[in-house]
């Protein structure tokens, strides 16, 4: 099952801009992102997840244009052709 994950801003610097991932059925969105982050770098993983392995609360997660909260991302299973976007708010001015 193929899924597209796009990262923006700081997450893009650490994890790459676009990843096409082959994933098994039944994987949650959070699990999918964890697997990708683990593969890339510790810094990338730490930017997205806390020590307990859950998304930081400020991470913005979109699946096919619909916003998911970090807790929702733990339950929602990805489907074939999903388009996922992950990014942090920026704060500077």
């Amino acid at each position: 099952m193929k899924v597209r994950i796009r990262f923006f801003a700081r997450f893009r610097e650490l994890l790459g801009s676009e990843i096409m991932e082959e994933i098994t059925k039944g994987t949650s969105l959070a699990e999918l992102v964890r697997i990708i982050a683990l593969r890339r770098s510790r810094e990338g993983y730490d930017a997205l997840f806390d020590r307990g392995g859950t998304f930081h609360p400020f991470v913005i997660i979109m699946r096919n244009g619909v916003r998911l909260s970090p807790p929702e991302a733990e339950h929602v299973q990805v489907s074939e052709g999903d388009d996922i976007a992950i990014f942090p708010p920026v704060a500077g001015g």
Binding site: F8, R10, M62, F87, P89, V90, A91, G92, G93
Partner: protein, 247 residues
């Protein structure tokens, strides 16, 4: 009513939106929260566009580390309150508008009086507590809020028109970690242009605003992308807690 000098100054943009549009700009009062990286270019472009009245607020003094991006300020302004430096330059840039600078920290107890009679608020802050305060104020006083934020080569921008659009908390319910953020001047320039552009379009009433849309700029790839964002019914700032019905 435009003077002869004003008709001349703004001639090239009057071609775009007519004297009617220019008069709207002249009658407008825009509040710029911050005279730093975003505030500087926003203020400059709103000034040259002829926004009749600008109020710019910042509590800081100019420091050397500001000068890679805060283009209203010069070496000779170091140690000087940013608003003083800003007002001086803006008046030089356009003596035909009114520019006011207030050196203070925006807080709950002064924000309402600061934005009492403004037509729009530009979020040029550098931290979320104050951004959220601007958001709350914009919502309660129903004043449009033009949000922008930057980090490194990245930026984001959106326009909030209370009560109908997504507010800042709908989009960003949780702030990112506090840090000394890296930034290059051009990122501030880009996002500030998006904000100033939105302000002008809003006042002149042309084009389509960045409402319920979050613009994400990646300066490293020179790509601007857009994410649709929706009002969150359970937003802690603007949520009604129930679905709006069509009835």
């Amino acid at each position: 009513m435009l003077s002869e000098k004003e008709r001349e100054r703004y001639r090239r943009q009057i071609l775009l939106f007519g004297e009617e549009g220019q008069n709207r700009l002249k009658d407008a009062h825009v509040f710029i929260a911050g005279a730093g990286g975003l505030g500087s270019p926003v203020a400059i472009y709103l000034a040259v566009a002829g926004v009749g009245s600008l109020t710019i607020v910042d509590n800081d003094v100019v420091e050397l580390t500001n000068l890679n991006r805060q283009i209203l300020h010069r070496d000779r302004d170091r140690g000087r309150p940013k608003v003083d430096s800003a007002v001086e330059k803006l008046r030089e840039i356009n003596p035909d508008i009114t520019v006011r600078g207030i050196q203070t920290t925006i807080q709950e107890r002064n924000i309402r009086s600061l934005v009492e009679d403004v037509d729009g608020i530009v979020d040029a802050m550098d931290n979320y507590p104050l951004r959220y305060l601007l958001n709350e104020t914009a919502l309660s006083m129903q004043i449009p809020l033009f949000h922008g934020a930057i980090r490194g080569f990245n930026g984001q921008a959106t326009t909030i028109i209370p009560p109908r659009t997504a507010c800042l908390r709908c989009i960003f319910p949780h702030p990112p970690p506090v840090e000394v953020f890296p930034v290059v001047g051009v990122t501030a320039g880009y996002i500030a242009m998006v904000q100033a552009n939105e302000v002008i379009k809003y006042i002149v009433q042309c084009g389509e605003l960045l409402t319920n849309r979050l613009l994400l700029w990646d300066g490293l790839e020179s790509r601007a992308e857009e994410i649709k964002v929706d009002k969150n019914v359970s937003c802690c700032s603007c949520g009604t807690g129930r679905e709006e019905t069509g009835i």
